[in-house]
Amino acid sequence: MSTPAVELVALTKSFGDVTAVDGVDLTIRDGEFFSMLGPSGSGKTTVLRMIAGFEQPTSGTVRLAGQDVTGRPPFARDVNTVFQDYALFPHMDVLANVEYGLRVKKVPRAERRERAMAALESVQLAGYAGRRPTQLSGGQRQRVALARALVNRPRVLLLDEPLGALDLKLRRAMQLELKDIQRDVGITFVFVTHDQEEALTMSDRIAVFRDGRIEQVAAPADLYESPASPFVAGFVGTSNLLEGEAARSLVGRAGTFSIRPEKIHLGDEVHDGDATAPGVVHDVVYLGSVNHYLVRLDAGPTLTVLRQNLRGTTDEAMALRGQRVTVGWAPEHVIELGADQQLQKEES
């Protein structure tokens, strides 16, 4: 296997009394689309800033392509960043923004111009070279920021929640576009986000952050189907947790278990061989193509059940509210989770 693009060894960062990043070990492969996912304050952005060189780690090592760069300033690292608020230079036009990195590196004028225009073309903004950043929409600024970083052909591209400021439709389109661009240029992307759907859509692998530590590193499907902890199960997708007495009566043994809402069947959809449990529909949440049914089981916990609106009317679905139902699930869809001391403590 080739040298990893990024290696973090026992990386720690404290701001005064607060430990933002607490002993992170991480290996990001060359050419991979890697996401760092976590709630705000989980340390993912601080890790990104330490890879870029904006923050110095309190302890630990940052290696880029096998080289220790821990003490190096940002301008001596072969990485580029797409900032959350884009950080385009407002006093330069779009072309000058994109050319900036090449001008600093003293690339000859003709080559500079050619590469900058090519980069602008790749993000479909060739016609906007003479505009000022203030004259562009949010989505266009985002593309300029991307072109400005990619034109330098860095070994690693760091993206700090670059889609956060865009509306939902544009964000979806940009997610697919980013993935395409990454596949074309073959550069390692390290993508920071708090949006689990975004991470699942684009990433080859995802690291889930929590309180400055990594909970789990896995491919999207593995993360969703076999979360390592209740936190991961809850943060990536919706999760129904069964623990304690409820776990013993519903699963048949002690432990902490999770069942995804789409794996639970309702009423006449329960198959033979499914584990079943009776309960009352506490609420129905209409979400357009699907409905969420909140079923309070006689055994204690309330489960979220997801059902597609394939048949029947919305009125019929809503009429289930307050009705007694039976829910069921295939035993193989019950995921056993590792112990999660902290979450249990918080809940008790």
């Binding site: 870029a52 060189g53 904006f54 300033p73 940002p74 301008f75 990485v79 580029n80 960043t81 900032f83 608020d85 950080a87 385009l88 230079f89 407002p90 006093h91 900036y100 990195g101 600093v104 590196k105 000022r132 950043p133 203030t134 400005r148 970083a149 330098n152």
Partner: protein, 269 residues
């Protein structure tokens, strides 16, 4: 916001009164510079350009203007360099005693001119053994000029944050290159505003100047002060004042124009 009819009329009246109060005396100065009467009789018995030609030929007035311009320009230049550097240091780095240093830089503008004047004159004469003259005058003016530049610069830096500078370094630019290509252009309009204000402060300063200029040097305010009550010179002084009114419109107009098209302001919004 919307106002009722009477409120609007009242606001208009107040605005007109305030503007009249400010500008009528200034208009009078300009009018009097053409007044044939030596004692500024009202209404003027006649109009003449005699005082304007007398003023042009007055060596005292000409020298005083040149000295004042020199002092204001040099003091402003010093203030721009030192004020910008101080603002950068205080905004970008955290160190022990940062707030104290910040206070000490701003303090001279609040100190009474008399105190600053006496203190500086004493220090120059006794501690450093320098004769009062152009050098001491410029240095003294720079102490309060720095404040206006510093205040403008640090306000802009606070609003900008460090984001653009990080982007520049991320793209491979070192510290100096980043300052030159990103930080300085973003500060330009703030520095211009600070510089203009500092120039104006220095140009009409009279108290500190009295203490630190020594005998041989006469700035314009001092020349005006000394000549206003001489019957022969009064009309000439009036002409100089009228000319200054017209001249001071220019930098204000420039700064207004620049502020309107300033991208760094638009971006920080």
């Amino acid at each position: 916001m919307t106002f009722s009819g009477p409120t609007r009329a009242l606001l208009r009246l107040f605005t007109a009164l305030v503007l009249l109060f400010v500008y009528a005396p200034l208009a009078l100065v300009v009018l009097n510079s053409f007044n044939t009467s030596r004692t500024f009789e009202w209404p003027p018995p006649g109009l003449t350009t005699r005082w304007w030609s007398a003023a042009l030929e007055s060596d005292g007035a000409r020298n005083a203007i040149v000295v004042s311009l020199e002092v204001a320009l040099i003091a402003t230049a010093i203030a721009l360099v030192l004020g910008t550097m101080a603002a950068l240091a205080l905004q970008r780095f955290r160190f022990f005693g940062r707030d104290t240093v910040s206070l000490l830089i701003i303090l001279p503008i609040a100190l009474p001119g008399v105190v600053t004047g006496i203190a500086l004159a004493n220090a120059f004469l006794t501690m450093f053994g320098i004769q009062l003259g152009m050098l001491t005058l410029v240095v003294s003016h720079a102490t309060f000029c720095i404040v206006t530049v510093f205040n403008n610069a640090i306000a802009r830096l606070r609003r900008l944050g460090g984001n653009l500078e990080e982007a520049s370094m991320d793209l491979g630019a070192g510290t100096f290159r980043t300052f030159w290509s990103v930080t300085l252009p973003m500060m330009r309009s703030a520095l211009l505003a600070g510089g203009l204000l500092s120039f104006a402060l220095s140009f009409d300063e009279i108290i500190v100047t009295t203490f630190t200029a020594g005998q041989g040097i006469q700035t314009l305010p001092i020349w005006i002060y000394q000549n206003l009550f001489r019957p022969n010179q009064a009309p000439v002084v009036n002409v100089v004042a009228a000319a200054l009114i017209v001249l001071s419109v220019v930098p204000i107009w420039i700064s207004q124009k620049l502020a309107g098209t300033d991208e760094s302001v638009a971006a920080a919004r």
